[in-house]
Symmetry: C2
Subunit: 309 residues, 2 copies
């Protein structure tokens, strides 16, 4: 790699799927001289050492961030306040702090109070991931061709924003700037509500009698399978997302409930024309997803991916 | 292929994704001496000729089925009655009739009255497909390693059931027998409700203001993308599924509504423990899907398939 280093010492505070993928990408791209990691559990710290994705691993956030010019928060969003308080004593006076959480207003509320006046906070959200969790689930390519949304509050230092943007671009991501409130609303419909629906239908199936549950699994290729994958995502991460983006999620859920009531009524009363016209409308959105190049590498004609009927 | 022919003349009545895939599989496996096809639209008939997947193409169902020892109904389930009436005059007295529809009680109700006493009806449902429709979307491998459920009514001729089962096994499918009513209930939760939820959330997104809609498409990798794929499935086929499996779909939707109300309440009142315990439970179901080998070839660790956040 002939590109210059972006940072001297990067501290990754929380090394799950996203944090560990970022560590790998930084290592591969030689973007920092040194990577320090914090992980809460001894098991994760052992895995990080074994994987060799950080130069040192710490069980105290303040130790991990000491002397770092970039700190990346990668913990579940509900843990941000506790972690910010714990790392504050170790922060360098001119540090740049960013995060990778799925909710942006809450992290600004929870982390900002612990940062000194010369420090810079650039909240971020790479829209990437899999249903797998933990340091071993990460990989350096995760952010390739994915969006990363930065939501710096008004007045954030432009140079700090650019440093964080440069990091993500070097990871292969497309960087966009957005207002935090707007981010939380858009993600409520594109990500949080889909996960809530997937968790719910899989829960509905789990509540069936034992014999039916076995058949649901056996015949899951009919559409249900895709929902089980989404509903296998990390429970703590998603608990925190819903609790910390409550208003936007409840608002979108309310709209959804109105729309499904309309469909329910149409099914009950045999209103085929209404059903068909709604199902036609949804095809248009799919076309948009495909045209935007967001359909995924294997989407074009991948028979194992979605089986209907 | 050294395996013997299973049929002399097969008539495929309705050559969409499933019908045309079956035609290809029969051709490739030399399972019949002759394949005749019916398609309603001139466009589809032209495509079938061009694709060369049938020996003759007919615009009248009675012509297509003439002299056939096997007739496969592949039309949307709402069209079965009309098509059965139209093809009846051409049916051979000892013909075996099957279908590929996603609802089984309705097809028995709609087709049986048009079959003579020496004829055999073996309703079937290959649980396979993609979100694409039409003769050009089919491919011979579609049924490979997929389940095909047969729901012969009590008293159906065993030899006829075995002939249809043999056809599907030669296509690579795993054949199971089931009561039609039970089939409709299991598929309501594994397939019909997932499609209804996907159609609904994509409709909810489509109803957003224009500017937000563009962003929903742009950031669809957060989970929404998977729903758009499901919601791109054939509108007429799915209209008919919901109208013809009304009771089972409404029953499962009612259960789903109760479960999502519980989650909605937990989010509103900040009940994190309840959320987390439900999200843990759903991971178990996913493990079952993976152990059953129903997770799909690219599911094990395919970063483009499901991106969370």
């Amino acid at each position: 790699m002939s590109e210059p280093q972006l940072f001297d010492r990067v501290a990754i505070v929380g090394c799950g799927l996203i944090g560990s993928s970022l560590a790998r990408a930084i290592q591969r791209g030689a973007m920092a001289r040194e990577i320090r990691a914090y992980a809460r559990s001894a098991e994760s710290r052992g895995q990080i050492i074994e994987l060799g994705i950080a130069d040192s691993v710490h069980e105290n956030p303040a130790d991990a961030v000491e002397g770092a010019d970039l700190v990346v928060l990668g913990v579940p969003v509900g843990a941000n306040e506790t972690i910010a308080r714990a790392m504050a004593p170790g922060l360098a006076p001119d540090v740049t702090v960013t995060d990778v959480g799925s909710v942006k207003q809450a992290v600004i509320r929870d982390v900002s109070p612990y940062l000194g006046s010369g420090m810079h906070f650039v909240p971020g959200h790479p829209i990437a991931g899999t249903e797998h969790s933990g340091p071993e689930a990460g990989f350096a390519d995760l952010f390739e061709n994915r969006y990363c949304i930065l939501t710096p509050p008004p007045g954030t230092d432009d140079a700090a924003v650019e440093r964080v943007a440069a990091l993500w671009r070097r990871c292969g991501a497309r960087v966009e700037l957005m207002d935090a409130r707007h981010h939380d609303k858009v993600l409520a419909i594109t990500s949080h509500l889909p996960h809530l629906l997937a968790y719910t239908i899989v829960d509905t199936a789990a509540n069936l009698e034992e014999s039916e549950r076995a058949e649901v699994i056996r015949y899951s290729a009919g559409g249900f399978r895709d929902f089980t994958r989404i509903a296998a995502s990390d429970p703590v991460m998603w608990r925190d997302v819903f609790l910390n983006n409550r208003d936007a999620v409840l608002e979108m859920l309310q709209r959804f409930n109105e729309d499904i009531s309309q469909l329910q009524r149409a099914i009950r009363w045999g209103e085929g024309d209404l059903l068909q016209s709604i199902f036609h409308k949804t095809c248009e959105i799919r076309r948009g997803v495909i045209e935007m190049g967001q359909a995924g590498t294997f989407d074009a004609r991948e028979p194992t991916k979605q089986d209907d009927g």
